[in-house]
Structures are given as C-alpha cells and as structure tokens.
C-alpha cells in the first residue's frame, strides 16, 4: 500500500509539473526588451516612486501625531488603516524587487557553463528565505500597523534606497556597449514608428 501511495505521489507531482509547464506564459529574462524595461523601471523608481523623502513622508510619525491631536477617533482609525495599507504595499514593492533580482540572476546564470550546483541551491534557499521574510514583514505590518515600530521610518527609507541601488548593481552586469546598442536600436525603432 505504501508503494502504491509513493508511486501515485510521483505521478501526481509529474501531472502538476506538466500542467504548469504547459500553462506557463512567455518570460523574457535575458532579452533586450526585458533588460531595457528593467532599466526604465529602475529609473522611474529612483526618480518618482521611491525617493527616501517620499518614504519618510509616508511613514512619518508626525502625521499620525498631528491627526491624533486634531481629529476624532474615527478619522484617526481611518488614517492608521490607510497608512497600514501603504506600508504593506511598500513591502510588496521590496518583494517585487527581490523577485526581479532573482529572475535577473536566473536569466543570466542559465547561460554560464561554469555554474555551480551547490551555489545555485544555496542561492535558491536564500531567495526563498528573503521572500518569506518579506511576507512575514507584511503580516507584522498587518497585525501591528505602520506606526508600531518607531525605528521603522528610517529603516524603511534606507531600505528603499538600498533596493534601488541593488537593482542598479544588478543591471550594471550588462555590458555597457550592449545597453548602448539596445538604446540605439530602440531609438531607431521609435524613429521608424
């Protein structure tokens, strides 16, 4: 009976893997479109979405103190709920950055003939750990709110800066000439259009 269960389990795993392999949509890691897109996304993050000042503003305790001192309880509760949502969304962005870094690493590593099995397994474990940590942080923010940790504001801003710098480092792997060429080609395509 144990054997039957074991073989059925292997069969079920294979069905599951086949199903996802057939359904998987196209992924373009390593293609010029994806890399140029990653560069553009990073620029927009650094310039508009995640500058330290903005993140500091989102998590500023002064805002809460002001609302708490001036507004009734209903407004205060609404403010806290909204800020919590913003904080959770911010962690979600960090998570997406980690995922982006992971995809970029895998998209690059698959071409390297000198790839180490041990290192790749270690990295897979590390990436998984980080993604789980992000999820745990989201749960923490959900349970305790955006203002539960006083040190969160500074650390949040630092993380935002750090994430952008990491992404920049990741994209710096690209050959500058290739990027230039891609830029030229994109400009050429735009001109044609």
């Amino acid at each position: 009976m144990i054997q039957l269960i074991l073989f059925s389990l292997i069969g079920a795993l294979l069905v599951f893997a086949l199903f996802f392999a057939m359904r998987r949509g196209p992924r373009t890691e390593g293609s010029s479109t994806a890399l140029v897109g990653a560069r553009q996304a990073l620029n927009s993050l650094q310039a508009g979405l995640l500058p330290p000042e903005l993140v500091e503003r989102i998590f500023a305790p002064e805002d809460y103190e002001f609302v708490a001192s001036q507004a009734p309880k209903d407004v205060r509760d609404l403010f806290c709920a909204e800020r919590k949502k913003v904080a959770i969304m911010w962690v979600d962005q960090v998570r997406q950055q980690i995922r982006s870094l992971m995809r970029f690493h895998l998209g690059s590593a698959r071409f390297h003939a000198g790839l180490s099995l041990q290192t790749e397994i270690g990295l897979a474990v590390d990436f998984t750990g980080l993604l789980i940590a992000c999820r745990a942080l989201q749960v923490l923010l959900y349970l305790r709110g955006a203002y539960s940790a006083p040190r969160m504001v500074g650390a949040t801003a630092a993380t935002a800066t750090r994430v952008c710098r990491i992404s920049e480092e990741s994209l710096a792997f690209l050959n500058a000439a290739s990027i230039g060429g891609l830029g030229d080609r994109s400009a050429g395509a735009a001109r044609l259009l």
Partner: protein, 250 residues
C-alpha cells in the same frame, strides 16, 4: 474488441506521425523521437498478430516489446534534454548534475531492492520492473521540468508536445503499473494503451510542422563571469536581508 481498436488506432497514429515526420522534414531534427516511434511500430506488430491468433507466445512477445520500447523511450528524454537545454549551458549543467545524483540514488536503490523485496511470479516481477523503469523516467522528466521552470526557459510547440505526450504516458503507465503490482491484473490494463493513443494524438498535433524553441538575442549576453554574478547577487541579498531585519525590529 476494445483492445483491438485501441491497438490498431495506435499503429495507425504511429504510422501517421512517421509519414508526417518525413513530409515535414522533422526526422533529422528529432531523430531519437522518430526512432522511438519506429521501434514501437516494429516491436508491436508481431505481438498484435499473436494476440489476434490467441497464441501462447503473446505474453513473452508482449514483455519483450514493452521493455524494448521502454528503453528506446529514454531517447525521447535525451531529445527533450538536447533541444530544450543546449542553448543554456548553465541550466544544462544544473540538470546534468542533478540527473547524475538522481541516477546514482536510483542505481543504489536498484542494487539493494532485490535483496529485500518479496518474490512473486514472473509476470509480477516484470510489472514491477517496468514500473521501476517508468519511475526513473518520471523522476527525470520531473527534474527537467523543475529546471525549465526555475530558469524560465522557453520551450516551443514541438518540445511542449513531446514533453506533454510522453509525460502523460509515463504518469498513466506508472500509476497503472503500481495498481497492477498492488492489486494484480484488473480492468486498469486498458488505461495504459489508451493513454498511449492520447499521447500519439498530442504528438501528431504538436509535431505537425517545425516549431523551434524561442531563441534569445545573443547580443545581450553578459560579459561578467558566473562567480562575479553570484558574488553580486549574494551581496545584494545580504544587504536586503539586513535592511529587512532592521525594519522588522521594533
């Protein structure tokens, strides 16, 4: 009657795949796959006539044909491995090393297993033997799918069909043989040839014409070495981890 229909349908479909392979000039592109289909055709025609003639030699021929096609079937796995992973040396190395580890583990298991298993009849032994070989194929194809998904490797229509068709047949065979090994001969025997016909239909559709795997633009290959890539990735993750830790601290 039902078994004869399934059998003849299988032979007809195999012939159609081979004819289509010739007309679409796919034989040279996927030689192992078409060699497998040809071997199925050659190996299964004698048992079919023995079955129709109700000959006692059918059982012997059945197992010879089954084992022969099972072994040649590993060629399909080689074909998939070659076409899907050869443009990605890193992923290919990962899959090869993982495959060697799995093969080593299975080889050790195969050495120990006969010493501990209970002895049944010849037919029961053959069912178990085929089941074990199908398990090896299932583990290999599972590992290959994990590598394909993990490294985000693109696969074309031909390879998708080859994987889906053979994967489906392996799963059905594995479960059917496991049930037969556990409960003895039963009604489930018809499922294996039936699923093979379904696989043939999938192959027929997927390999109607040549669809190569998508090729990435070679101009965007990275110049950095793998070690540098790993070091940068590790550094980036370390930074993220410490920042996340600081955020989490009250």
């Amino acid at each position: 009657m039902a078994s004869s229909i399934i059998w003849w349908a299988g032979i007809l479909l195999t012939c159609s795949i081979l004819v289509r392979g010739v007309s679409a000039k796919l034989l040279a592109r996927y030689p192992f796959f078409y060699a497998y289909n040809l071997s199925v055709l050659v190996a299964w025609v004698p048992p079919l006539f023995l079955y129709v003639a109700n000959s006692p030699a059918y059982n012997t021929w059945y197992w010879i044909a089954q084992l022969l096609t099972l072994i040649v079937g590993y060629g399909i796995l080689l074909e998939i491995f070659k076409h899907v992973l050869s443009p990605y040396p890193g992923a290919e190395r990962f899959a090869r090393l993982a495959g060697i580890v799995v093969f080593g583990a299975i080889f050790c298991f195969a050495l120990v297993y006969p010493l501990v298993k209970s002895h049944g009849g010849a037919s029961a032994t053959m069912v178990e033997f085929e089941r074990d070989l199908r398990t090896v194929q299932a583990i290999f194809i599972l590992g290959l799918l994990v590598v394909i998904a993990y490294y985000g490797i693109e696969i074309g229509k031909n390879m998708k069909g080859m994987i889906a068709g053979y994967g489906l047949y392996i799963v059905t065979s594995l479960v059917t043989l496991a049930v037969r090994s556990y409960a003895g001969a039963s009604l489930v025997w018809i499922i294996q040839p039936l699923s093979y016909d379904v696989s043939l239909v999938i192959w027929m559709i997927a390999l109607w014409s040549y669809h190569p795997n998508p090729i990435l633009e070679s101009s965007v290959r990275l110049e950095a070495e793998y070690e540098a890539l790993v070091a940068k990735t590790r550094g980036a993750m370390g930074g993220m981890r410490s920042q996340l830790g600081r955020v989490a601290r009250p």
